[in-house]
Structure formats: structure tokens, C-alpha cells
């Protein structure tokens, strides 16, 4: 089997795992965590082998650092979304 075919089978298995996680009796937080872990592994496989970033370390670091910073910067809003759902206990 070629490398591409192995990666394709891995992606199908990981996608199936995501579907199985959706039917587990766990809390939404646990479900979200497990799903994001699987999605990141899937995305990494696609980036490294389908998009050939594994062959170009310089470009790999450029993409990872640039996207990582952007994704990290977007996380500022979560505290506010929890404040809306849970209220502001210290303001009472």
C-alpha cells in the first residue's frame, strides 16, 4: 500500500472514531475535548502528507506558527461566553 493510501485509511478510521465519540455517554466538555483531539490529528495528517508539509520543514513551521498565533488570539472570547451563560457571581 502506498503512503497516501495508508494516510487515507487512517483518516477514515479517525472520522469513524469521531462518529463513535458522538454516541458516547459523556459530558459535552469531554465530548468536545475528545473530538477536537481527533480533528487535530486528522488535520495534521492531511497537512503533513496530503499537502506535503512533511517535506518542507521551513514552510511547516511558518504555517504552524502563523496559524497557531491566529487561533490562539481568537480564544479571548471564551471567558465572556461563560460569563453570559453563568452570570457574574462576583458582581452580586
Amino acid at each position: 500500500m502506498s503512503k497516501d493510501l495508508i494516510v487515507y485509511v487512517c483518516l477514515l478510521v479517525l472520522a469513524a472514531i469521531q462518529f463513535l465519540i458522538a454516541y458516547q455517554s459523556i459530558t459535552p466538555t469531554q465530548m468536545f475535548t475528545r473530538m477536537i483531539v481527533v480533528a487535530v490529528i486528522e488535520a495534521s495528517l492531511a497537512l503533513l502528507f496530503f499537502m506535503h508539509l512533511a517535506d518542507n520543514r521551513g514552510l511547516l513551521w511558518f504555517v504552524v506558527i502563523f496559524n497557531g498565533f491566529v487561533l490562539f488570539a481568537m480564544q479571548y472570547s471564551w471567558t465572556d461566553s461563560f460569563r453570559i451563560s453563568n452570570g457574574v457571581p462576583w458582581a452580586k
Binding site: 486528522e42 488535520a43 496559524n67 465572556d80
Partner: protein
């Protein structure tokens, strides 16, 4: 310019610049491929922005609907999109090997899989619209669900549709000799990116909203 002994004016012959003076491409990647990578990085920010905004709304809204009962259609759509990435790889490989007919065949198979994905997606939308889910309201809970669902899946569907058109155009022009294997590879990057985005849309927009 210089003047000969007979008074004739001659133009200096251009000498090729030494390779050491030529600017090397960034990360040793050709300009077209680098442009596609920059587009992908920018588009990642667009999709990430949409998904983070969706997460914000879902987290902060108490009566968030969970309307999806079956995963069959979603599983088939995911299978089709993942398979289309493999066929795209085969197309680029064939192009690299100089097999024009094979490259066109794999590229058109990829486009056909993209069309199948889009049709299944539209069928799913029609079913949801029939159940009363629109951009602004739905029978299950907050109206924000429809707005965020159609925005994210619509943005992805737009990318798939654009990709299908590009696959057909670039595939045919590659066969006609106007484009080369590099162009097909650059388009392949875009198609894999569309697949990659779906890997995040499926869990967050669909699977976390399954009715249990």
C-alpha cells in the same frame, strides 16, 4: 553604450546575473504555490473565526437546538470528501509522471465527487428548510442556530463549489497544454484544505448537536 573606432554606437550585451545574486523563493516554494499557502493561511483564519463565533454562541445560549437524528448522510458526505482528496493526489501524481489523460481522469473524478458532496449537502439543507429551519428561526430553540449553521456550512459549500469549477477548468486546460503539473498541484492544495476544514465542521456543527 560604447563607441567603436569607426564611430558606431554599440549596445552592451546583457550578461546573465550570477545565481548567487538571484533572490531565492521563500521556503524554496514556487511563487504560485506560496500564494496558495498564503491564501490557505488567510482562509484558515476566516473559518476559525466562524467556528469560534459559533462556539461562543453555542456556549452562551441555554436552549441551543440539537436537531440532528441521523448521521448516515453526514458519514457518506465525509467519506466522499476524504476519498476526493485521495483521487486528487492520484491526479497530481499522474501529472508529475507526464500522464495527461490519467491526470485529467483523476481530476474529473475528484470534481464528480465534489459535485456529489454538494448535492448531498443541498439535499440536507432542503430537508432542514422543510422542517422549518431558516436563517432566523427554527422550531427547536434559538434562531441563532440556523444563522450559524447555514453560514458555516454555506461558506464551506461555496469553497467546494468554487473548487469543483476550478478542478474542471484547470484539468481541461492542463490536458490542452495551457497549464502544467505545478498548477494542478497548487489546486490540489486548495482541495485538501477544503477537506481539512470539513474535519472540524463535522464534529462542532453536526456531531455535538446530535439528538440523544
Amino acid at each position: 553604450m560604447s563607441t567603436t573606432t569607426r564611430g558606431e554606437i554599440t549596445m552592451p550585451t546583457p550578461t546573465p546575473a550570477p545565481s548567487s545574486l538571484m533572490e531565492k523563493p521563500a521556503f524554496s516554494v514556487p511563487a504560485k504555490k506560496m500564494a496558495m499557502w498564503l491564501f490557505i493561511i488567510a482562509d484558515t483564519a476566516t473559518f476559525a473565526g466562524c467556528l469560534v463565533a459559533y462556539g461562543f454562541l453555542r456556549n452562551a445560549t441555554p436552549n441551543w437546538p440539537r436537531p440532528f437524528h441521523s448521521i448516515t448522510n453526514l458519514a457518506v458526505m465525509t467519506f466522499i470528501l476524504l476519498t476526493s482528496s485521495l483521487t486528487m493526489l492520484n491526479g497530481v501524481k499522474a501529472a508529475r509522471a507526464g500522464n495527461k489523460a490519467g491526470a485529467l481522469r483523476w481530476t474529473l473524478i475528484t470534481a464528480a465527487l465534489g459535485i456529489a458532496f454538494a448535492l448531498l449537502h443541498i439535499r440536507e439543507w432542503m430537508a432542514l428548510i422543510d422542517e422549518g429551519m431558516t436563517l432566523l428561526k427554527n422550531p427547536w430553540g434559538t434562531g441563532l442556530f440556523g444563522a450559524s449553521f447555514y453560514s458555516i456550512t454555506g461558506l464551506h459549500l461555496t469553497h467546494v463549489t468554487g473548487g469543483v469549477i476550478a478542478l474542471i477548468v484547470v484539468g481541461l486546460r492542463y490536458k490542452g497544454g495551457r497549464y502544467n503539473a505545478d498548477d494542478l498541484e497548487v489546486l490540489g492544495l486548495y482541495w485538501h484544505f477544503v477537506d481539512l476544514v470539513w474535519m472540524f465542521v463535522v464534529p462542532f456543527v453536526y456531531l455535538l448537536n446530535l439528538a440523544h
